[in-house]
Point group: D2
Chain length 304, copies 4
């Protein structure tokens, strides 16, 4: 299939809609000032074929997409232990809700809501000499380019992160977090502040379509079963309270972030990253979602 | 692959666990007296190859599995209109919960929770001359054998259905149901009371792995896109509040019922039905779930 | 104190606001067509002194005020047993909420929310030969005039009562109601449809300020302790989700109804009834509430 | 009335139950080690008559009773402004619940749940040069003895206060708190850590039964209306999720703390303080509650 043509046609079709609808995340200045009129898309197949179009080389704040990689690292270093303090069910509630956390004694429903990702970060603090460095190391190795934090974003997150502080202290009150809230959130706020481009992201996520094999060197990142489980979690919990809608209309495991990026996995075929900063009411990239619907409609790719 | 050998080995392995754990549904006598020590499994591939083992020819009460077929019929007769009054998101709550219904103004989260299936039945009442007969007609045609209601179960459901009456009147108070509660619930209680065997069920569900094509005659039951959407809904919402867990550990679209049956779909490959009456704490067949985990582990089949 | 002058001055002051704000209950036609521009007020002291002003002789639909009298009757016939299936706590939620009922296994928080009053009606069905007749009998005896149901309102309530049907079936599913939902709701819908004037109501409620003694004949209606408990329930739970606000700004036990009536008790002094059909956002009579604030400010009467 | 005899008889009657039931608060060591077998009671009438029995001179940790006095101080210094960010309704939920806070955009239901008292503390930080000193100053002046913080308790509260940190950051995320979480909680944790005896407490609360007049010097602490409002709040919200039960069975405005103290107000008559460390399931002093029931039964004092 001529993926390059498909991606270019999608960019052409969506260009007129750029900046027309949706809202760029505005809770911190560094995100609020990102121009809404950007759109990039990139993919990489299992065999290493790449295609890209639009602003695919522009770095963006990966935000919650980082939860896939912190979970990957935690699976490597903590193994099954991880699941003693995190569930695997969709939440059916806003991603940073405290209600469910209260009724379930502080155990987050899954690793892709904020509370769950904070528990994952707690595991990384426990198992890594330098959790922040290891997350960057994993990503840099996966996409073969140096990856870095945007320190301005990280410190803005920390400054406006009262909801995440509330979640963390709440879990701490249930004994769910082992380490200091400040230490754990420092890791969490930094992972959210990583900057990558669509091309880098499509490469880095490659192991998710290759049964856990490293996207380039062929070494094992995770086992086949572990990768299937991450893909299952992405499908059921990867796009906030729109996961059912994404499964229904797109039919691929996806993980999105409020920076406007979304990664999608076609098992045994390819990984894809799309980015456009304006978000819809569910917090997912509005044009990113349109692009994924067009991509699956045009290629017939779907897990169902 | 020698599916017959796989199913037989699963039956052999699980036989010692029969009747050891779990509880048969006890809310109506006709279900409560079903012996817990039964186990059946059957599959049918896209190409018409069949395999079966254990009590695969014993009819059981299909209960909530019927929601897949009433939804199929509603998609045929009502089309996209259907989604105006039903969502497509996992509920993150018990299957007959009123809480979410209240906060979302009476609109059920998806067609596989009770409230959603009752709205589907309301559509069938609107569009069909005889909704109950058409459901039976659809199933009989799909599996090429006459299928019938268990009238004792239907009337027991009606007699003990205060929770479903509550859900229905609650939705009625929000203007979500068009028809009389009694008329709509008569359809709903009857569809739950259908009796089928694993073999019949694996055949009837065949269109779900054949992109919507009829399992035998090749006519179209639903469009490819409609079937993908049903499979997506089964994966995200098909097994009560264990959908995430099923996706994580089994990785196939499934729909279960409190009668102990579960159907599973491997797109482009096969449909499978397993049945064992004893349920786990989430209301899914305990050994049915074990069997599906073994089946996917052994065959490597998974959508992820 | 010259109560007649106080009531007249309140009527004068509030007259310009009649029909200016608030909304008449519109869920049934017989309530919706009540002119909003009516206002009546009446009181009766422990010693039998009466005062009245405005439309104090016009009958109105007493609606939830009836809950005080059905509770009184249930206390007479069922005694302490009553409290096995009803709580005594404010609900902190809308008066017909199902959420709390779900989390508390079908036991209503108090006898003044709809669910609780339905359980009270269930007790009356159990203990009375003809519950509806006994409620009318109690009221007729208390105010020394024949009191009747408005059958049009009663049958409209039944026709539009899906929320109450939902509550009842929900409680039935928890085993909280002993009798048929239809039988119990027939009592409940009728008690809500009683018509009385402010003057009649101030008389009928007289035992609440007389330590349980009959307002005229001196016989005992309830014990002193029972009356204190009803007054306590009125203060904490009598005005929907505005009970705290009423206690804060008025400081008297009150019970309101969506017909626009409110009764208030000054223990050892007097009972008062005010009526004006337009309701505020909390479902309480807007001018009724203003009138009570003026009354307590002017007379200095308050339990605090 | 011979109050001294009444209090002594209550102490005698309850003595055999000391240490038999209930549990001392154990979330911080300084509270956990308080012997359960203590019981004290004291009252002071409007006219300055005092009575006391049992361990009435033993200081205890006043905990949430402090919320009455911090509210009093906030009413003095902030006036009506206070109510812009705090409601006046009973919560119908556990006292430190986050659920209601979420559904109501961070505005606490009333000033006696933890969240509400933290907002009160935020007002004190805004209006006072040294909020902690002014709280102590108010109490010392009211009871004419120097009152102090238990610094061990204050620092233990801070160390184990993750739930309160969660509440505070959560409100901060809604913009409900003006000052730093740490600064506000320093005030809050200290006010909870005040130590007073029953005798001191009965004296200090005296203005609540004297229409706002200072218990000794006759100066005005609050206006009559302000005091009525505090009494109303105590009645509807003063004893966690047992406020309805307290109103029903005791019939007086009360405020309790997890240290085992409870104050009660008989308007125009007296204030009373009872203390016994073992708590019932609702977090209120088990024997304290029994003592209050006996007191009102014996004296006939009740606001209803």
């Amino acid at each position: 299939m001529d993926y390059q043509a498909v991606l270019e046609s999608i960019v052409e079709e969506l260009r007129p809609q750029l900046g027309r609808a949706g809202h760029v995340a505005s809770y911190i200045p560094a995100l609020a000032r990102v121009p809404a009129t950007q759109f990039g898309i990139a993919l990489r197949t299992c065999d290493g074929v790449e295609a890209a179009a639009g602003d695919s080389a522009t770095p963006f704040s990966i935000q919650s997409i980082s939860k896939v990689f912190s979970l990957t690292l935690a699976m490597q270093v903590a193994g099954e232990r991880l699941w003693a303090r995190i569930g695997r069910e969709p939440s059916g509630n806003p991603f940073n809700s405290l209600v469910q956390l209260e009724s379930e004694k502080g155990v987050p429903r899954n690793p892709f809501i904020n509370a769950g990702a904070i528990v994952v970060a707690d595991h990384l603090v426990a198992q890594c000499v330098d959790a922040k460095a290891e997350i960057l190391g994993l990503l840099s190795d996966l996409c073969a380019e140096p990856i870095a934090f945007d320190e301005e974003v990280a410190s803005s997150e920390a400054g406006s992160g009262h909801r995440n502080l509330a979640l963390s202290h709440f879990m701490k009150s249930f004994g769910i977090l082992d380490h200091d809230v400040a230490t754990v959130l420092d890791v969490y706020f930094h992972q959210c502040a990583i900057r990558m481009s669509c091309v880098q992201m499509a490469r880095a996520a490659g192991y998710l379509c290759r049964d856990g094999a490293h996207p380039r060197v062929g070494a094992r990142v995770l086992s086949e079963q572990q990768v299937r489980r991450i893909n299952a979690l992405m499908l059921t919990c990867g796009t906030y309270d729109a996961a059912g809608e994404f499964a229904f209309s797109i039919g691929l495991p996806c993980k999105s972030g409020v920076g406007g990026g979304i990664i999608a996995v076609v098992p045994d075929r390819l990984t894809l990253c799309v980015w456009s900063p304006a978000l819809d009411a569910t917090g997912n990239s509005l044009l990113g979602r349109c692009a994924l619907e067009r991509f699956t409609a045009r290629t017939g790719l779907s897990i169902f």
